[in-house]
Symmetry: C2
């Protein structure tokens, strides 16, 4: 992750990934955030693979394009619940979810 991006994230709500030492993150917080990133990444991959726009996915999950963008960018305002629901909507099975996070 680039320093600029990191600083930007830090300046807002975040705290993340490989910057655990730099910021004040407990191992638990780190693990939680990394889990979210793994789900985000998986979501973007799936959507892209299906050749859907964020708008398309938004309609499938009954949310808005902007929230989909936030999901995929790992925005702190997005819950694991929403990520999981969205992945399921894209056809992810429990095993798929397991693979995404392990």
């Amino acid at each position: 992750m680039k320093a600029a991006k990191r600083t930007k994230l830090e300046s807002k709500g975040w705290k993340l990934g490989s910057t655990a030492d730099f910021l004040e993150l407990t191992p638990e917080e780190t693990a939680y955030i990394e889990l979210k990133f793994a789900l985000s990444k998986s979501l973007k991959e799936r959507r892209t693979r299906e050749k859907l726009s964020q708008n398309d996915l938004a309609k499938m999950v009954k949310t808005s394009q902007s929230r989909v963008a936030k999901m995929e960018s790992g925005d702190p305002s997005v819950s694991v619940d929403l990520l999981v629901k969205s992945l399921i909507a894209l056809g992810a099975s429990p095993k798929d979810l397991a693979k995404a996070i392990a």
Copy 2:
């Protein structure tokens, strides 16, 4: 699941598990709920294995005994976020989480 329990759940917020046909649940809702149950079960197993009371765990996660009880009972008011955070607090690794849900 026993009919009495099912009816009780139905009468409140729920909808669940093997009763997808009986209630009006989309496959997506079913998958989501079953995921939550898998996490609930895993949480209870871990806590029990560590010989911790719900109160002990509550303090570890900075919540209350009653919320822990709700987590373990699959109460609809509990988010996947909270379940995941609690499991992580109990030392669950990404792989452990993956195993729990797959």
